[in-house]
Symmetry: D2
Subunit: 265 residues, 4 copies
Amino acid sequence: MWLRAGCEIQFDESEPAPFILMLRPRSGRRQWVARESYTLIPSVPVEEYTDPYGNLCQRLISPPGKFVIRTSADVLADDTIDVAPGAPFVEVQNLPNEVLTYLLPSRYCESDQFIQMGREIVGDAIPGYDQVARIEQWIRDQFIYNEAAPHFQLSAADFNQMSEGVCRDFAHLGIALCRGLCIPARMVVGYLHKLEPMDFHAWFEAYVGGRWYTFDPTQSEPRGGRVTVAYGRDAADVAIFSQFGPALYPTRMSVQVEQLPGPPE
Amino acid sequence: MWLRAGCEIQFDESEPAPFILMLRPRSGRRQWVARESYTLIPSVPVEEYTDPYGNLCQRLISPPGKFVIRTSADVLADDTIDVAPGAPFVEVQNLPNEVLTYLLPSRYCESDQFIQMGREIVGDAIPGYDQVARIEQWIRDQFIYNEAAPHFQLSAADFNQMSEGVCRDFAHLGIALCRGLCIPARMVVGYLHKLEPMDFHAWFEAYVGGRWYTFDPTQSEPRGGRVTVAYGRDAADVAIFSQFGPALYPTRMSVQVEQLPGPPE
Amino acid sequence: MWLRAGCEIQFDESEPAPFILMLRPRSGRRQWVARESYTLIPSVPVEEYTDPYGNLCQRLISPPGKFVIRTSADVLADDTIDVAPGAPFVEVQNLPNEVLTYLLPSRYCESDQFIQMGREIVGDAIPGYDQVARIEQWIRDQFIYNEAAPHFQLSAADFNQMSEGVCRDFAHLGIALCRGLCIPARMVVGYLHKLEPMDFHAWFEAYVGGRWYTFDPTQSEPRGGRVTVAYGRDAADVAIFSQFGPALYPTRMSVQVEQLPGPPE
Amino acid sequence: MWLRAGCEIQFDESEPAPFILMLRPRSGRRQWVARESYTLIPSVPVEEYTDPYGNLCQRLISPPGKFVIRTSADVLADDTIDVAPGAPFVEVQNLPNEVLTYLLPSRYCESDQFIQMGREIVGDAIPGYDQVARIEQWIRDQFIYNEAAPHFQLSAADFNQMSEGVCRDFAHLGIALCRGLCIPARMVVGYLHKLEPMDFHAWFEAYVGGRWYTFDPTQSEPRGGRVTVAYGRDAADVAIFSQFGPALYPTRMSVQVEQLPGPPE
C-alpha cells in the first residue's frame, strides 16, 4: 500500500529555542520511502544525525515568531501486519544481542513491577505470540482508548491506575507487561492509515518466534497501513519533538495520511 | 595509580538460569587494563558482546549447584579526578550528538519532574560545572549515605522522599537534577579505591565545558582511584548482573580493590 | 545555495540481477536534504541499509527488461568550500580514532608506494593544509582531466603512469599521496554544480587542522555547490551502483544539477 | 581446547614513534578470553579503541630506547573447525547487510581481476562451500608455503605471479578468488596452535550456508586451535602493528602458543 503521510506543526515563540525533531521516516527492511519533503518556514539551519536506535533526528534552533515545520513522505507500507499465533517464546539465552536492551525497564515502562500481573493476564497461553496477544486483548478490554484523555507523561504504572488513556499509554503498558515476562518489547511511533481521529500514533512490537511482531491495543483488530518514524524503549526515546528548557506547545498541529493509487512518479 | 580490582560472586540455585553480567572493565581513553582474569567455576560457555553504550557484557547460563564468578583486573587509573570550577554550561545546540541521549529521562531518573527543584538548588551558581557541584553538595547535605539502607529499586523521585540511601540512589538523584537543567548526565558503575565499606560503587558524570566530569555525592571530597566497569543512563542499563525470571540472590559476594606498587610485570 | 541534483539511469537486461545502489544523499552536518524522490520504474521491492561509512545503500533485484532509476534531491549546499592555508598537520597520536582508517592503503590508493613521491611533491610546504594544496596543484599540472579518457578501474599507481584521466583517478592519486604523508584522506562521490560535462563527480577530503577539507584537483579553483552522496576509502567503497556477476552497463544515464532560487516550498 | 597464546615484540628506536597495535584477542561468540595480560616495558600511556571491524586497537607512542610489548591470553578455542561440504552459496540479495562489505575488492585482494580465474578453478563444484574448498586446495597445490619467503607487501595479483609465499599471501589469494565468485570472504589474523614455525598467522573465512567458515590453505587439513585477534578485508585492516612514518622493525619478536590442561584458575 502506497501512503502519503505527513504533518504540519506550527510554533510561535518570542525566543529562539533548541529543538530535536524526529519526523523523518527512513527506508529500511519493511518500508520504502520513495518521495519525501521536509520544509521549514522560515528556512533555518538544520543538522541531522542518527540516534542509538537508528532513528533520524533533526537538530535546529527555532526562530522567534511563527515557525512552521511541514513534512510529507510517500511510503510503500505493508497492507497488513503479520499475525502468528503459536510463534514461540525465545528464551533469553537465545535472543540476539541487539534485542536484549528491550528487556530492560525504562522511563515509562517499569517492567520490574509488572511480573506478577503479566503472569496472571496471560494465564495458560502458549508462551510467545499468544501471550502478547492476550496482553493486547486485556488492555483493550480494561481501558478506554480516548485521544482526548488528559495526557500527562504517564508511565505504565501510573496508567494502570486509570481507566482511559492515549495510544502511548496503551503501548507503555503492553511493553511493561511483555518485558515482565522476558519478552523483548519496543515502542514505535509513526502514522496509521485511517486512524480516527487522525494524529501521530504509537504502538508496540514484541520479539517472539525469532522476529518482531506488531501489536496495537488501541485498534480492535490487526491493521496494516503503518509508517514507522522511530523505534525506542519507550516515549522518552521517540519524542516527535524534544525541547530543552520551558515546554513549548505548538500553536497548530495537523497530521495527514492518505492512500495513493500507486507509486509516485 | 595502579589498582587491582575484582570481585567474587557465588550463586547456588537448583535450576539453570540465563544471566547477563557486566564485570569486565575495558580499556579506553582514561583507563588501561594491563592484566585481567575472569574465572567461572565450574567453567560454562560464555558469549561476550558490546551493548549500545560500549560496555562489555557476558552472557551465560548458570549451572545448577554452586557457581562462582571471580574477576580481577590490574588497571592504570587516574590518581585524582579533574575538578573545574567555572567550566561552562554547553547549550543544547552545541552538544555533540552522542551526548544528547543523556539529556532524556530514564527509568530511575525522572528528570522531567526535577526541573523546578534543580533551579532552586543551584540558585545563582555559574551555569555549568558550578551548578553540578552545588547539586552534589546539596545531596551530601540532605541525605545520609548508608550502604546498609534497604535498597529496593528506588528511582530518583522515590529516593527524594527518603532520608538515607545507597550510592545508586545518590547518583540517580544527581543525574535527574542535572538533566532537569539540560546538563547531560550519566551513571557509572565500577570500583573505588578505599571505599568504606568495600563494594561495587556507583557515581555519575556530567557533561560541562566540553567534556565529562566525575561527581560522587557519597564522598566528602573529590577522589580518584576509580575503575569504570560500565556507563549508562541509569542503573537499568548498568546492572552488574541481570537475571531473567525469578530474582536470584548471590549466596556470597565480595569486592576487593588494592593499590599495586607499579605496573604488573 | 539550494541545488536540485539527480540522475536517471536505465538498464535493459534479459535476466534479473541483484544491485546495490548508492544514490541517496543524506542530511548531515553540512548538507540538508529538504526534498527528495527516488523512483523505480517498474516499481520493485527495495531494502535500504547503512554501510560502515554511514552511506545509505539501496538493495534490489532489477527486473528483466527496461528498468529506470530516477532520483532527485533538493539540497542546501555550501556556496563555497573552506580554504585554510596554514591549517596544521595533525600528528597521528592526536587524530580522532574514527579518522585512523583513512590513513590505511586501500584498493585503489596504494599509499604505501607513494611515500617518497609525496615528500618530493610537497617540498618545503608547511605540514598540513599547504601540503595537500601542493599535491592538488601538482596533479592539476601533471595530468589532463578528461572524462572521456578510457576509464578502466585504475588504481593510483596505474594512473600515475598515464597522462590523462577521469575524476576518480585524480582523487585516488591525491588520496594516496596524502596518506603517504600520514594525512588522512577519503573519497567523496556526489554532484558538483556546473561541472562540465555534467556527470557524477568524485573528489577527496583531507583531514588537517582538526577537520576535513575539500580538495578537487579536476577544478582550477576551489568551488562550492557540492552535494555529497557517499564517503569511503576509495572508489571500491562508494560505487554509485554495484552489481554482482557479469558487469551490466546502463543503456542510458544522465545527471542534472541546477540551482534553485530558494528553499523548496 | 584451552590455549595460552601470546607474543613478545621488542623495538629499539632513537626517536619516539606513534603506533597502533592489534594484539588483544577479544571474547566473542566463538572464543572466550579467561585471562589476559598486556605489558609494556617501560610503561607508557595507552589508549584503546574499537575499529570499524570490531577489533581492539591500542594506540601509544613508543619511547626511545628499548621498548618491549608482551601479551599473553588464556583462551577457550574450538578444538576443530566446522567443515560443511554442500553448504550452499548465498545469493547476493540474501546476504546480511553487514556481510556485503566483504564482497568488495580491497587493497591486497583485487577480486575484480580474479573472476574468470575463479570460475576455472572451481569448475563444476557445487556453488558454496565446495567452491571455496576447491579454491583452498588449488592454492595448496600451486604454491609453496614458506614463511621465509621474502614478504614484501604483495597483493593477490602480485602473489599469483610467484611460486611461494607466506600465510598472508595464501589468504589474500583465497579471498580474492572467493569474492570474484560473489562469496564474501575476510581475513583473520591470530594464533594457530602447533603452527610450524610458530609465528602470528593469517587465514581466511568465507560466508556460505548462512555463516562464516574457516579456511586455511597453508595447512594440509582442517585444524582447530585458533585464537582470533582481528578480522578485516585484508592485511591493510589487520596489521599487528601499524607505524606511521619511516618503517620500524622489531629487534626481536617471538610468539608462543601452548595448550593448557584446563581453564585457568
